[in-house]
């Protein structure tokens, strides 16, 4: 790929004590790409994600964001220009929906009127009713609504990159599907570059353009779902087979309704 990556990991290693959480990983994420990092717990996928906005610092290797070595960028400024969607929202419970969404623009010193207009725009974008939700506290929202607010908050300062840490993992299946699809179209519409962590290969295949598979800190494989099918790694193949096997079992258990 001739153009420079939006996020580039080059031989990144990070240990916590004796545990090598990320081991010599190199990975490029192109502009506009939707990458899913798939792996079990303890695979190092979360660490890899947090290295990108310096919530965690690498032991060795280089990370670039939009061509710049992140070590040369102030971490606070870096985080303000990268959207981050936390597991189960990470909303501040004492702040209203509007204040949660407007937090990063506020930190950036944007005028209050601009922030207010931006909040309304974002509520519409993530399909929440402005009048019903704007002034509520997060505790008054459903899990799906909270995560929509989480997405809106990540997008508030118009980032070009969004990092997502198992964003839909804790939601019920219907909400999860709806939210995934909605985010996918936002990603396309806004021309974002998205890196999403998930342990669910089905979700990764359905939402992402490319998939990176991690295990024990190592990057086992990366590519489109079709490219991954050609992998010779047994674990990668096993992961890829899971969705189809589930469908086969479902088909066997459920009566066939209508024509497929």
């Amino acid at each position: 790929m001739p153009s420079r990556p939006m996020i580039g990991y080059a031989q990144i290693t990070k240990s916590f004590g004796a545990l090598k959480a990320v081991d010599e990983v190199s990975l490029d994420i192109a502009e506009g790409q939707f990458l899913a990092i798939v792996g079990g717990s303890g695979s190092g996928k979360t660490t890899l994600l947090r290295l990108a906005n310096r919530l965690i610092e690498a032991d060795s290797g280089t990370i670039t964001v939009e061509g710049e070595d992140v070590q040369n960028v102030d971490p606070v400024a870096l985080r303000r220009r990268i959207g981050y969607v936390f597991q189960s929202g990470g909303l501040f419970p004492h702040l209203s929906v509007a204040d949660n969404i407007g937090i990063t623009p506020k930190l950036l010193g944007r005028p209050a009127a601009d922030i207010s207009a931006r909040v309304d725009e974002l509520l519409e974008l993530v399909q929440l009713d402005r009048d019903a939700h704007r002034d509520r506290l997060p505790e008054a929202l459903s899990g799906g609504q909270r995560q929509r607010v989480g997405v809106a908050r990540a997008l508030a300062a118009r980032p070009r990159i969004v990092l997502m840490d198992e964003p839909f993992g804790a939601l019920d299946p219907l909400t999860r599907d709806a939210l995934g699809d909605d985010y996918r179209s936002l990603h396309r519409k806004l021309g974002l570059t998205t890196v999403m962590i998930t342990h669910d290969m089905t979700e990764a295949i359905l939402l992402a353009d490319r998939i990176a598979v991690m295990r024990s800190g190592q990057l086992l494989a990366q590519g489109t779902p079709a490219e991954l099918s050609n992998s010779r790694d047994a674990y990668v193949l096993e992961l890829l087979r899971t969705p189809r096997r589930q469908v086969e079992r479902l088909n066997a258990l459920l009566p066939q309704s209508g024509a497929a």
Binding site: N53, L55, V76, A77, R79, R80, Y84, F86, Q87, G90, L91, F92, P93, H94, I103, T104, L107, L108, R153, A157
Partner: protein, 519 residues
């Protein structure tokens, strides 16, 4: 007949603006200082386990020191600091009253504020702190926007606990010279004026409740982001401070301050001195309930203008003398020594309030005891009680040495309760005071001291250095000198030990004046 109709409620009420005002000021100043130190410490140590543990341990240790002792310790400490600053920088300050009270109470307030502050800040979901970082907050922004608001309920609970503690403990600042609602309680306990004791307890409890509720209002306002509630709570506290300042505004100069120690005779005599000064047109107020180690320093520093002490007390405690001299010689020596500090020993009132060993008359007759020397033979089978300082005083050492006294047991007791205890046989002998009216009331006798082991304790009138040349003051006090004999003082003390309206120090002072000089 009814408790509510007692005129002493009215008398208590007249002191309220002064006592309550001082109480509120010292409590809120201490609380503010305590918060100003504890909150930043809680914030600084929230992610540092080692200093946090040390800090909490220190605060806990402070908490185990009884409030009264902590307050009392600050007085000599500040005296020392004041003498150092005087020597090094030429500036001194008063170690009396407000300053030691504020410092000790502030220290006392630290534990709940620190503990709850640290607990509140550490109890926040780490995912939220991570989220604060992730959306681009600096450490300070995270603290102000996320951590402090989330820790607020727990922190405020600590602040409210501290406020209640400080307001309660401030009643104990009376003996170090800080006027407070404790003045009611100390005076009431010493003069058996239960109306005053109750009044003081109720007033401080009500104050504590009011401040607690106002802080609660501020807390709920901050939590619900309601400016109205926060404002109301803050306005309430501001109003409380303002209301307590108003009555004291007009009289920034208190005129002459008459000191008194913590027992009934002192309350009566200070009331008498105050009345005499006021009758002569000199503005005067009484500052009662001062600890006996505090009061002399307060006179020397000019925090009080005059008070009554006892020759033997000063001889032992201030001049650190252990030898014993005849009455007149001791007085002359004392006068000369005090003059070096520019303190005027104006003269004797006419009676002595010495330690004396007291035993029920019947018991003495049965045992055939008249003197302490007679007592010594029986001492090994008897128990003795004294006030809190007696057994560590030189008189006790001198008595033991002179007569070879060795009792079966020795106990410390509140002076007011000693006489009843010896009359009922709970103890066999007590170290009482010669001027105490209860000796006659309970049919007790005071044993002779043929070896003169106990030094003379003439009641003497002392004037502060700044009043050394005050001829009008001296002329006003002159008529009291030599006028109060031991029988009169005993009767006055007996009256003061009653628990009806005629037993208030003010009432007894009036009686005493009529008896010795007034018409």
């Amino acid at each position: 007949m009814s408790l509510l109709a007692d005129p002493r409620w009215g008398e208590a009420l007249t002191h309220l603006p002064d006592y309550l005002g001082n109480h509120v000021r010292v409590s809120l100043a201490a609380l503010a200082l305590g918060l100003a130190v504890s909150l930043p410490l809680a914030i600084l140590t929230r992610n540092r386990p080692a200093p946090r543990a040390i800090l909490l341990a220190l605060a806990s240790i402070v908490q185990t020191v009884p409030g009264l002792a902590l307050l009392a310790l600050f007085y000599p400490l500040l005296l020392l600091v004041a003498s150092v600053t005087l020597a090094w920088f030429g500036v001194s300050f008063s170690a009396f009253g407000f300053l030691p009270a504020v410092l000790a109470l502030a220290l006392y307030s630290m534990l709940p504020v620190l503990r709850n502050g640290i607990t509140g800040l550490n109890g926040i979901d780490p995912a939220l702190i991570e989220a604060a970082k992730g959306v681009g907050m600096t450490a300070r922004q995270s603290l102000v926007t996320v951590e402090l608001p989330l820790a607020l309920p727990v922190m405020m609970a600590g602040i409210r606990t501290a406020a209640v503690w400080v307001i309660g403990t401030a009643t104990l600042s009376t003996p170090i010279g800080q006027t407070s609602l404790g003045n009611y309680i100390f005076a009431g306990l010493q003069t058996q004026n239960w109306v005053f004791v109750l009044f003081g307890c109720f007033a401080s409890a009500l104050l504590a409740l009011a401040v607690d509720q106002l802080l609660g209002l501020i807390e709920s306002g901050l939590r619900r982001r309601s400016r109205l509630r926060t404002g109301l709570g803050a306005a309430g506290i501001a109003a409380l401070v303002a209301a307590t300042l108003v009555p004291t505004m007009g009289r920034s100069s208190q005129g002459y301050v008459v000191g008194a120690k913590t027992f009934a005779e002192q309350y009566v005599l200070s009331a008498l001195l105050r009345d005499r000064l006021q009758a002569a047109g000199l503005p005067a107020s009484a500052r009662s309930g001062l600890g006996s180690s505090v009061i002399f320093g307060a006179l020397k520093a000019g925090d009080i203008d005059l008070y009554i002490d006892y020759s033997g007390t000063l001889w032992a405690n201030q001049l650190h003398r252990t030898d014993i001299k005849p009455r007149t010689e001791l007085l002359a020596d004392l006068k000369a020594s005090l003059a070096k500090d520019n303190i005027t020993l104006l003269g004797e009132l006419g009676f002595e309030n010495a330690y004396t060993l007291v035993i029920p008359k019947k018991r003495a007759e049965a045992l055939g005891i008249r003197t302490i020397a007679d007592l010594a033979a029986h001492a090994s089978t008897l128990s003795i009680a004294g006030d809190y300082e007696f057994f560590s005083r030189p008189e006790w050492a001198a008595l033991q040495k002179a007569y070879g006294l060795s009792f079966k047991a020795q106990r410390q007791m509140q002076p007011d309760f000693m006489y009843a205890a010896v009359a009922s046989g709970e103890v066999d002998v007590i170290a009482g005071y010669t001027s105490d009216g209860l000796i006659a009331k309970y049919d007790l006798i005071s044993l002779d001291d043929p070896s003169h082991a106990i030094p003379p304790y003439d009641a003497i009138l002392l004037l502060a250095p700044k009043r050394a040349g005050d001829e009008k003051l001296k002329a006003t006090l002159q008529p009291l000198l030599g006028k109060i004999d031991i029988a009169t003082m005993r009767e006055a003390n007996l009256r003061a030990s009653g628990n009806d309206a005629n037993s208030s120090p003010d009432a007894v002072a009036k009686w005493l004046w009529e008896k010795v000089g007034g018409q």
